[in-house]
């Protein structure tokens, strides 16, 4: 087991820890905003660590680029998704809006 593999394990464990944090936040936090907040931050960080961990053991340059690209895309995607959901909630909490939980 060389240094890179050990580093990879450490990074992946870190990533797993953050994911765990995100999930605990999702389940335990009292309201939607804080859940959203906890989740997006923790998950993006977790994914970053896992990508880092996999970069440690990857052999070729294109693969590393692809991994980084995946992380960047996930970052863009989930942060904007978080924004959309947050914004949507913010708007729909105003009066005269749909709060129909049975259908949605």
């Amino acid at each position: 087991m060389n240094l890179f593999e050990i580093l990879s394990i450490i990074f992946c464990l870190c990533g797993g820890f953050f994911f765990l944090g995100g999930t605990v936040g999702l389940i335990r936090f009292p309201d939607t905003y804080s859940r959203l907040h906890a989740l997006t931050k923790a998950d993006n960080l977790g994914l970053g660590f896992i990508v880092l961990g996999l970069i440690m053991v990857s052999s070729s340059m294109p693969e590393i680029v692809k991994l980084i690209l995946i992380w960047l895309l996930a970052l863009i995607g989930s942060s904007s998704a978080c924004y959309f959901i947050g914004n949507h909630m913010h708007q729909s909490n105003k009066p005269q809006s749909i709060q129909d939980e049975s259908d949605f």
Binding site: C12, F19, T32, G46, S78, F84, I98
Partner: protein
């Protein structure tokens, strides 16, 4: 080494399973959507780890596509509520 990655993937899959609780409990649709978002990034990570654990590099492309397209469902969700239609009329330009 591969067993470790598989364990990590398993751990993340269990994370998703735990997150399913939020999808079922709700209470608001946004909460469910947030949980789905969790599955997006966790799913990407799981796919990446599996790709490493099973030595099949092409799974990374699945993760890539997944990361790219998950936001579409959220966009559709946001659009298809009264808010989406109300707000849209203010700004018609692209």
């Amino acid at each position: 080494m591969n067993t470790f990655y598989l364990c990590m993937a398993l751990f993340l899959a269990l994370n998703i399973l735990a997150g399913l609780w939020r999808v079922m409990a709700g209470p608001k649709p946004e909460d469910r959507m947030v949980a789905a978002q969790l599955f997006g990034s966790t799913g990407v990570a799981t796919l990446l780890l599996l790709s490493q654990a099973l030595d099949s590099p092409y799974i990374k492309n699945a993760a890539l596509v997944f990361a790219l397209l998950t936001v579409m469902a959220v966009l559709a969700f946001v659009r298809n509520t009264s808010y989406g239609l109300k707000q849209d009329k203010k700004n018609e330009s692209f």
